[in-house]
């Protein structure tokens, strides 16, 4: 760490001496970064307001410079987020774009299930908003780009047998089963080879055993997960080829795969009535799934 910091200082000094203008730009850039704000509803967060909170609660994993290399990081899997990259899994915005302030705020409050990121209940709303600004100040992407436009989520339609059945067709057609498995047990043919953006092995979500998702628990969260994708993981965005009403059908079907989830009983009752069985992806050629 010390040599890193030393080399950092040397680099700063050399650059400051050699090229005056970029250094000035960077000083300006630095000042801009400390001015980073977040806006969540009526709350305004300030990066400077989170200096103490970050050092107290976040630095151990996410590190002093926000690169996810805090002293605990070596023991953790999945690894803490590297904030300097400006890339986040849980977003309401399209793949390849920055999340909204609210997305980051929700992640702090919710935590990330199956990881070491807890839900930060003890922090006040203002402290969380300040932390959002602090998280943003680590990456220059927030000064050069705006957050993406949140995807449209229409009101959830009534749960019907027809929609659940249509969702089953989508599950097959979109090949969700390739990773998540035909019963949602995370054992599809591609499941074993998946890696994240750091080339570390990563598991698909197991619908059968799990109830909470990485990015929330509600039907809207589930909708968002497959429509935005989880950037930095193998989970892609399906927004280009799935209409919002189809997305709701898929949500309804996915809920039938979750016996461990005490909620969503209506979907499960419908699944029973329909006598839904795990799909057989090889039964019919994928070109004509709904010919009759």
């Amino acid at each position: 760490m010390r040599t890193r910091m030393l080399s950092l200082f040397v680099a700063v000094a050399v650059l400051a001496l050699c090229t005056a203008s970029p250094a000035q730009m960077t000083q300006y850039d630095e000042d801009q970064r400390w001015n980073t704000e977040s806006h969540i509803g009526s709350l305004t967060g300030h990066a400077t307001g989170a200096k103490v909170t970050y050092r107290r609660f976040c630095v151990g994993c996410h590190g002093v410079i926000g690169d996810g290399e805090g002293e605990n990081a070596q023991w953790l899997d999945p690894k803490p987020r590297n904030f300097t990259l400006g890339q986040f899994k849980c977003r309401s915005t399209p793949t390849g774009t920055l999340p909204t302030d609210e997305d980051l705020y929700n992640t702090i409050g919710r935590g990330i299930v199956n990881s070491n990121m807890p839900a930060w209940f003890p922090l006040t709303n203002q402290e969380r908003a300040d932390l959002v600004a602090y998280v943003k100040h680590f990456s220059s992407k927030w000064t050069t780009e705006k957050a993406g436009q949140p995807i449209e989520i229409p009101a959830e339609p009534e749960i019907t047998a027809e929609r659940v059945k249509a969702g089953e067709g989508l599950f097959k057609k979109l090949e969700c089963w390739k990773c998540h498995g035909v019963e949602g047990r995370a054992n599809g043919p591609s499941a074993d080879t998946l890696t994240d953006d750091q080339n570390r092995p990563i598991r698909p979500f197991n619908f059968h055993d799990g109830s909470r998702f990485k990015c929330g628990t509600t039907d809207q969260d589930l909708f968002k997960i497959f429509m935005t994708g989880l950037d930095g993981t193998p989970m892609p965005s399906f927004a280009d080829n799935v209409k919002p009403e189809e997305a709701w059908e898929l949500v309804m079907y996915l809920r039938t795969l979750q016996p461990a989830n005490p909620l969503n009983t209506k979907e499960k009752i419908i699944a029973k009535q329909l006598g839904l069985k795990p799909i057989n992806p090889y039964a019919a050629p994928p070109a004509q799934p709904e010919s009759k």
């Binding site: 950092l8 970029p22 960077t26 410079i65 774009t97 680590f138 979109l174 591609s190 994708g229 950037d231």
Partner: protein, 259 residues
């Protein structure tokens, strides 16, 4: 400690680099406004050459597509291998990107070709395996297979280009895509089919990718003195200096050494 420490991939230093790149981009775009109309096609030359591999090419592992029967069938007669090093007749090295790394006027560098090349997913392979593109050039991502692919480019996270990841089921319409910053090269993968791997080389100005004989032609190069860079995904880069005269081809050959 020396100046070399600048090269370190520290977030701080990349922040400096970014600022530099951003200001350079700004300069280039301003300059382009003034000189873009100055370039005319008639007086332009080209750079041609051959790229060879010196030594024994490494063994390319055959790809086992048994987990994707629809693709395995396509290759039943001619099983395919990985494509990291593809050597054709007489040691010609395929899939090498050749581009002008120094010397282009801002006007020439800022011109964006109107052609929209295709990045196809066919038989669970990327066709082409390496695609050269201009910054902001539109191109199409196509799925010709009977299976879903997820197209997942992973550019350098410290740079300006964003990683994205989209599913493309069979029969889905093509994606229209651009890259906003130069990067040689953006790796592309499909997580569903882990053997699928390719590169998009994003450059400013004219470029070419060598064919199966290792031959390439960089067209529409305005007269001038240039540094030409050849990039290969395993062997890295090589450079050469060339002087392009109006209407004439100039030769630049490259030889990579097998490791």
């Amino acid at each position: 400690m020396n100046v070399g420490s600048n090269q370190e991939k520290d977030p701080m230093t990349s922040r400096f680099k970014l600022t530099g790149i951003m200001s350079a981009l700004l300069l280039v775009s301003v300059a382009a406004l003034y000189s873009a109309r100055g370039a005319s096609a008639a007086g332009e030359g080209k750079i041609t050459g051959t790229i060879k591999l010196d030594g024994t090419p490494p063994h390319m592992k055959p790809i086992d597509m048994s987990k994707e029967p629809s693709c395995q069938q396509i290759h039943a007669a001619h099983p395919v291998t990985l494509e990291n090093v593809v050597v054709g007749a007489n040691g010609g090295l395929q899939n090498v990107v050749v581009y002008i790394s120094e010397g282009l006027s801002a006007g020439a560098a800022g011109q964006v070709p109107s052609e929209t090349p295709t990045w196809d997913q066919k038989g669970c392979q990327y066709i082409p395996h390496v695609l050269a593109l201009d910054v902001n050039q539109h191109f199409k991502v196509v799925n010709s297979d009977q299976t879903s692919h997820n197209i997942h480019p992973t550019p350098n996270p410290a740079g300006t280009n964003h990683e994205w990841n989209k599913s493309q089921p069979p029969g889905a319409p093509p994606f229209d895509v651009t890259w906003t910053a130069p990067e040689v090269a953006v790796p592309v993968k499909c997580n569903i089919h882990p053997w699928m791997h390719g590169y998009m080389a994003v450059v400013k100005g004219p470029s070419a990718v060598s064919d199966n004989n290792g031959a390439f032609t960089v067209n529409d190069v305005p007269p001038g003195n240039y540094t030409v860079t050849a990039w290969q995904e395993v062997y890295g880069t090589q450079t050469a200096k060339v002087t392009v005269a109006a209407g004439k081809p100039v030769t630049a050959d490259f030889t990579f050494k097998a490791k």
